[in-house]
């Protein structure tokens, strides 16, 4: 590894000071004089025709300034497929869908006004699960689907509930299965879960009478949000300004466009006044987006020696009432559909399906938690059936340099080392070692599961960064990657300082974007900020240095190529005694007679990922700029009398290339693994007749400090990435992905029951244990 000054150091993050002192401002902490408060009236039905909306009484209530609904605000939005009205139009498609909204001088009055809005509904048959949605003659959630606008890289299907079908075809699937010694077929399922950011969603908007709109939002994507707002409300980009304060957790749920249009719609009716709309916890559960539920069918053919020769997979995502980000989740899961395996013959189909459930959106992992649950459970089943060690079975079949992945990209030495991740986890878990003696009803087991993920982004997902020198030659670096907790402020400062050859204490990262002033950034999603914006920062520093050299060359009567810049000075390479201290040049160089040349130094750098679209019929192409490989393992203990599951040990090893900041990298890995563990053992949005039953912390639990495994370990494998800044690779989402499969595989190892459906609650495990016992009884 190179000798870095800032890279690889556990630099504390600049934003942590603000946050630990209570100074950091989040959306709810922002107030304006004369501000109004918004509240939203939501549908109590999952699917119903709206017969009539009467807002007259609400409008007359003293203190109410604006009431709006579809008739006043007939706008639609959508990231890739424009299917979603700001307010339910004609019918409601999920319980919790906004029907109307009010703005008033106090929250209490707004609340009171909601009660005065009269809505008449006529209920429709509810599409309550994936099977129902796919049935012939199923009620259509969107009968007008084919009339919607959508990007041509997505494929909705006429007269169905399918809003996107992604196809992957590689090799010859029939020939592949003919070669197989054994064939395994299974089905797996996982339910909808919520992001549960600790900060509820919120936005504040003001629509001036001259047509200018300002929006503060707790968001991951200020520029994309601006773009989608101006699209929905038919404005010009220059008239919309989005300002992003600190975000109290996103995990994908605050990406793209979300609840902001509701605040904007109210602001449009209350011109010249700020309207603040902060969701309650219940609204955050039901009125934002969720991770889609998924049902997966997998068929795998294996040779006598344990080499996978063919695989056919179908994934059906419950996208809920609107396609949203789900369209692209379906695509990303579709092109990665077999996971990090080298398989010659593949047939993959990934479907996004409308139901009357909560709206599916982006969620940490972006379809990969779902697909790996299917693949990594299946791999374990096959290994055991073939009497092979599950770690060894994976070593034989995973991608290695020279292999070609699902979309036909060739793996190189730079892509990352999947095998090293497996080895590291196996070693730490004492894989294959004997277990200690325990009481008869306590069983221990170990399991592991691998994963891969690339940033899922369109080919034009670009980034920009700016580097500004101050008078004393300290530096401010600007970018619009959002600090959503992941630590990009620290990482980008480190990259900037490294490139500047400057001490990190001389660099200040101005992270919180304002679209009027900040450089462009597509979105803070896909674990891409350190990787993509890091490259833009490097280019910005190089640009600033070029500008300094140009002026210095004039002073020295030399050419820029003969000069170099470090953290203190610009100097002649051949004669380092000839130099200009940076403070004397970064605002322009002044000769003794007062004449000044040059000017304030600002470097601008951009980054473009260079990808291609994928072939419509085969899904082959170059949609992934880099891959992060990983392996996760667990040791668990199961009480066979109660089903109680205890996780003793949880380990994750990821090839994250050069580690920019070990402190924040560890934070991402452990935080992601614990969120993954929650999704494995406890989290589930529960429905009855299309209605969510557990939209509160009382009924939807997440893990607490008291629920942690006894041991949690994060391991860095560091194979530098060819395109990443200083060789860094993405790691934000990955740690969440394969924890469920690792735990399920460990449960199987412990008690011999295979669970196909998440979450692995104690009751779920006990049910399987009882079924196994009953089965044995029958066989006797």
């Amino acid at each position: 590894m190179k000798n870095f000054k800032s890279i690889g150091k556990p630099s504390p993050r600049e934003d942590a000071y603000d946050k630990a002192t209570g100074n950091a401002k989040y959306i709810a902490d922002i107030d304006f004089p004369g501000m109004l408060y918004g509240k939203v009236l939501r549908s109590p039905h999952p699917h119903a025709v709206i017969k009539k909306i009467d807002t007259s009484k609400a409008e007359k209530l003293n203190g109410v300034v604006a009431v709006t609904h579809a008739a006043k605000c007939p706008y639609k939005m959508g990231l890739y497929l424009v299917d979603r009205p700001v307010f339910a139009t004609g019918k409601v498609r999920y319980m919790g869908e906004p029907v109307a909204a009010v703005a008033a001088v106090s929250e209490e009055i707004a609340e009171e006004a909601l009660k005065l809005v009269r809505v008449e509904y006529e209920e429709l048959p509810v599409v309550d699960n994936i099977e129902d949605a796919l049935r012939k003659k199923a009620p259509l959630v969107h009968p007008d689907l084919m009339n919607y606008e959508y990007l041509p890289i997505y494929y909705p299907k006429k007269d169905t509930n399918i809003f996107n079908h992604f196809k992957l075809r590689k090799g010859n699937i029939n020939k592949g299965f003919q070669k197989a010694y054994r064939v395994f077929e299974n089905e797996f399922y996982l339910p909808q879960i919520h992001h549960v950011p600790m900060e509820p969603h919120g936005a504040i908007a003001k629509w001036e009478r001259d047509g200018k709109l300002t929006v503060y939002s707790s968001c991951q994507s200020p520029f994309t949000l601006r773009n989608l707002i101006r699209y929905a409300f038919k404005l010009s980009h220059k008239d919309v300004r989005v300002i992003a304060p600190y975000v109290g957790g996103g995990f994908g749920g605050k990406a793209g466009i979300n609840m902001e249009p509701l605040a904007v719609a109210l602001a449009k009716e209350a011109k010249g006044k700020w309207v603040k709309l902060i969701f309650s916890r219940e609204e955050t559960f039901t009125g934002t987006v969720v991770r889609q539920a998924m049902k997966g069918k997998i068929k795998t053919g294996v040779s006598r020696k344990g080499r996978i020769v063919a695989e056919k997979i179908e994934l059906f995502f419950d996208g809920g009432a609107y396609a949203e980000y789900g369209t692209n989740v379906v695509r990303a899961a579709g092109y990665t559909i077999i996971g990090p395996y080298d398989i010659e013959n593949v047939q993959g189909d990934s479907y996004g399906v409308y139901t009357n459930h909560l709206v599916g959106g982006a969620f940490r992992g972006f379809g990969h938690g779902e697909l790996h649950w299917v693949v990594e459970s299946q791999m374990d089943i096959i290994a055991h059936a073939m009497k092979m060690d599950p770690a060894e079975f994976r070593r034989i079949n995973v991608l290695k340099p020279g292999s070609r992945n699902s979309m036909g990209q060739t793996i190189t030495e730079h892509t990352g080392n999947m095998t090293a991740c497996i080895d590291a986890v196996a070693e730490k878990l004492d894989w294959g070692k004997k277990r200690m003696k325990l009481p008869a009803h306590i069983k221990r087991g170990k399991g592991l599961a691998v994963l891969e993920k690339a940033p899922a982004m369109p080919a034009n997902a670009t980034s920009c960064a700016r580097v500004k020198f101050n008078e004393d030659a300290t530096v401010i670096v600007q970018f619009s990657g959002m600090e959503i907790g992941q630590g990009c402020i620290a990482a980008l400062s480190q990259i900037c300082a490294e490139r500047l050859k400057m001490d990190i204490t001389k660099v200040h990262a101005a992270g919180l974007p304002d679209t009027d002033f900040s450089p462009y950034e597509w979105q803070t999603v896909a674990s891409r900020i350190t990787w993509a914006v890091g490259n833009a920062v490097i280019n910005a520093v190089d640009d600033a240095h070029a500008k300094i050299k140009k002026v210095a060359a004039q002073v020295f009567g030399s050419v820029p190529e003969e000069l170099d810049v470090d953290g203190e000075k610009v100097f002649l390479k051949k004669d380092t005694k000839k130099f200009i201290p940076l403070p004397d040049i970064v605002l322009g160089y002044q000769y003794p007679d007062g004449h000044t040349i040059g000017g304030p130094v600002e470097g601008v750098g951009t980054f473009t990922p260079h990808l291609t679209n994928l072939d419509k019929n085969t899904g082959q192409g170059d949609a992934a700029a880099e891959w992060t490989f990983g392996c996760e393992g667990a040791e668990v203990e199961v009480n066979t009398e109660t089903g109680e599951l205890k996780v003793l040990d949880l380990i994750g090893a990821f090839d994250l290339g050069t580690v920019i900041n070990p402190l924040t990298a560890k934070g991402q890995i452990i935080g992601g693994m614990i969120q993954g563990l929650g999704s494995a053992v406890l989290e589930e949005l529960k429905y009855k007749d299309g209605k969510v039953r557990n939209a509160s912390f009382v009924d939807y639990k997440i893990l607490t400090a008291a629920d942690l495994p006894e041991k949690i370990t994060s391991i860095f494998i560091q194979t530098p990435d060819a395109k990443g800044p200083y060789g860094a690779r993405a790691v934000g989402e990955h740690p969440m992905i394969s924890v469920p499969a690792a735990i399920a595989n460990a449960v199987y190892d412990a008690v011999g029951v295979r669970i196909h459906s998440l979450p692995l609650t104690d009751e779920n495990i006990l049910r399987h244990l009882k079924a196994k016992k009953a089965d044995k009884g029958k066989k006797k």
Binding site: P10, P12, R13, D15, A16, Y17, D18, K19, A20, T21, G22, N23, A24, K25, Y26, A28, D29, E108, I109, E112, H195, V196, P197, M198, E199, P200, Y246, V247, G248, G249, G250, F251, S280, R281, I484, G485, Q486, G487, L663, T664, K666, G667, I670, G671, G672, M673, I674, Q675, S696, F697, V698, I702, T704, A705, A706, D707, L708, I712
Partner: protein
């Protein structure tokens, strides 16, 4: 509008004596945030389930979203804004920063106040005691491990100072 009765309360907030008229249904969280601009305590759920609104009431951690302002009459309230010394932040704050215990930061003020109360009562907690004490404060980002490490480190430093 149902507003409830108005009460006069006297209490101390971060060492400053305050008097205020409050409605009987107003929460302590709302009073701190809206009357005094002390927005360090956050509302994560408004129902006593997440701990983001934790402040100390007479030295004990409470979910201020569940405490009525009238219940704070005559009490001493300490918030995240009140624990730093004049020129340096509190050792727990410092440890949270150094140990990577802060990600999105929304749970952080509540976590720190709970840790503060714990270390006041028990300057030398073991890991199980720390986990138990923090179990009412939800964090979605960190997986808690670095928070626990920070509390341990802070305990050590604070003991060092006292000893």
């Amino acid at each position: 509008m149902k507003k409830g009765f108005v009460h006069e309360i006297n209490f101390t907030v971060n060492g400053i004596k305050r008097a205020l008229s409050v409605h009987s249904n107003e929460t302590l969280l709302k009073v701190l945030r809206e009357h005094y601009g002390l927005t360090g305590a956050k509302e994560g759920c408004g129902g006593g389930e997440c701990g983001a609104c934790t402040v100390l009431l007479n030295g004990s951690p409470v979910n201020s979203c569940l405490v009525l302002a009238v219940e704070a009459d005559n009490a001493h309230i300490l918030t995240i804004e009140g624990i730093a010394a004049k020129d340096s932040i509190h050792p727990i704050q410092q440890a949270f920063i150094e140990y990577g215990a802060v990600q999105c930061g929304f749970c952080t003020p509540g976590m720190i106040m709970t840790a503060y109360a714990l270390l006041q009562k028990n300057p030398d907690p073991d890991e199980a005691q720390i986990k138990r004490a923090l179990s009412g404060n939800l964090c979605r980002c960190t997986g808690y491990v670095q928070i626990i490490e920070a509390v341990k480190a802070a305990a050590k430093r604070m003991k060092g100072k006292r000893g």
